[in-house]
Symmetry: C2
Subunit: 334 residues, 2 copies
């Protein structure tokens, strides 16, 4: 199934892909299949919180709608406004430097996945405008596979991790590498001594903070679809493509990720409980295309959109990019 | 008003401080004051989403309950289970290195606030157990003032920022500085050239990722209360104290923050939309106490709890600390 969160005729709803380029409301299919008493999830998060039963009911409703076209109303995809499939995820974990193509650029790096968080407030959907501002500095796209969690999980080993996945989506993990260069600290950290915690010692440490360069409004494009996992036989071998202004800037595959999907989810899960609707964005598939253009050439301050990201089996998202000429507001009191 | 999210007699509810060490259910006070048709917010987030009107109605209901004690049921604070006052905030922004006491340890640093995100899934409430694991490495408390947003805001200048604040709470921004030292990268970043985006150049950059060391389960203690802003005349001058195992490890004040509350919110707001219930944790108030003990001596792997954080006017949170001897699970597939 391909599920979407949309607005149609002025109302937000959960919709399902049906036939060619058409949609049906989840509520319409559910009512046609199960009658007026059907328990209809309010939105994608509510559906995911229903667990496997909710998804199975929806699959039955879709099958019913496909075989009984006179019982439901179809409408064209072109007529709707798209939102991120999960509009209000509890958290979005983004994996850093997970592409083997970046390994040669690492002078030193951990031997496990490292990750940052993006806020739900940064999300936009397919076709929505990516508005950025001149004071953000350099901003580029990062095409990524997003995994959507379907069941609450904690301490799940890699071998079992895929049982907790509801499906996949396409993420453009838009990154302000200009701001990234600004939010760096070099400082003397203090640690307690291993033998005697009453004594401390200083360690020189470089720290950087990602909330601004990864979490600014419009820095996460998710969608168009949540594609249920039964449609994707191997998430660790999907081709990924990114275009900016019609030119290809990444031609890659999830098979070049350093860590597989199950490993990423399982590693995070040794520290964080994951809940239905939580998203793990697996890292940038950024191998340059044959024309030698890369995402690093696609600074939105310099290069006009639209930007599109396609992943095999998950569809294509395409968004216009708008740069607003603007100075930062008066955030100091004096 | 002092508001809390609690469980009492097996049910979750929103409660208000009334009299000495007692509580009243928000629903009880609202019904007593406004009758059976009162619109009762489901939880703190729902209350905050009602905006100022919701808060004013609740204040009227509390005043009614105080003057009509026979019309409501009071119960002792000691009988309830506390949760984080906002259990499911849309985002938690944590400010890095905002204490002037850390300035002398900075070799280089930005000239604006830098911030990271903590997930809602890491939150626990007053009295709840802080369970950490041996494989997390060194973990210490960070006592902080938390600001809770009351109205959707974007691009609000510092001078107007306080109009958007609903209230304050106490945050223990628990930090795994062991994991912090592990999630560091030194690498060659690629940037487009300013004149010609088709050309790129390499820049050596140190990056670090905070989601693990700041966002692991139980790494955020919030509460006991959301204290409405009318009770706090100056959030930029509140004393802060942190104790571990009965010993004081921080004796500080929010007046030593580099940036004032209004500046922090306003700076974030030039990048992120803030929504009702979002939390800004203003940075660690970590000046060592007179006994020369500091939070850096309070490695939970070595020093037994409980840990408490008190902020002037906002109350005291106290939590037991439990260390589980445990190895990390099998997150690799082979």
């Amino acid at each position: 199934m391909k599920l979407a969160s949309i607005s149609y005729q002025g109302a937000d709803c959960l919709a399902l892909s049906i036939g060619k380029d058409q949609l049906v409301k989840a509520s319409d299919a559910m009512t046609a299949c199960f009658g007026r008493d059907a328990v209809i999830p309010m939105d994608m998060l509510a559906l995911l919180q229903q667990g496997e039963e909710g998804m199975l009911n929806l699959a039955r409703a879709l099958a019913f709608a496909e075989s009984n076209p006179e019982r439901v109303t179809r409408f064209p995809q072109a007529r709707v406004q798209w939102h991120a499939p999960v509009r209000n995820p509890g958290k979005i974990c983004g994996i850093a430097m997970n592409n083997s193509a970046s390994n040669s650029r690492k002078i030193s790096a951990p031997e496990h996945p490292a990750f940052f968080l993006k806020p739900a407030s940064c999300l936009v959907g397919h076709k929505e405008e990516i508005a950025i501002r001149s004071y953000y500095g350099s901003v580029h796209p990062e095409p990524e596979l997003a995994v959507i969690i379907g069941k609450k999980m904690r301490d799940v080993p890699a071998l079992d991790a895929m049982d907790y996945v509801a499906g996949y989506s396409v993420m453009n993990d838009i990154t302000g590498n200009g701001m990234r260069a600004e939010d760096l600290f070099q400082y003397w950290a203090i640690y307690s001594n291993e033998e005697d915690p009453d004594k401390t010692h200083r360690v020189e440490q470089h720290l950087s903070y990602a909330a601004r360069y990864k979490g600014t409004d419009n820095f996460g494009v998710l969608g168009p679809w949540l594609v249920t996992k039964d449609e994707i036989s191997n998430p660790d071998d999907l081709s990924v493509e990114c275009k900016v202004g019609g030119e290809t800037v990444a031609q890659d595959s999830t098979r070049y990720y350093n860590y597989k999907v199950a490993e990423l989810i399982s590693f995070i899960n040794q520290f964080h409980t994951l809940h239905p609707g939580d998203i793990v964005s697996c890292g940038t598939a950024f191998k340059p295309s044959e024309n030698r253009k890369s995402i690093h050439n696609a600074n939105f301050q310099q290069v006009a959109g639209p930007v599109s990201v396609s992943i095999e089996g998950l569809g294509t998202q395409e968004n216009p990019v708008v740069v607003e000429e603007k100075e930062i507001g008066l955030w100091r009191l004096n």
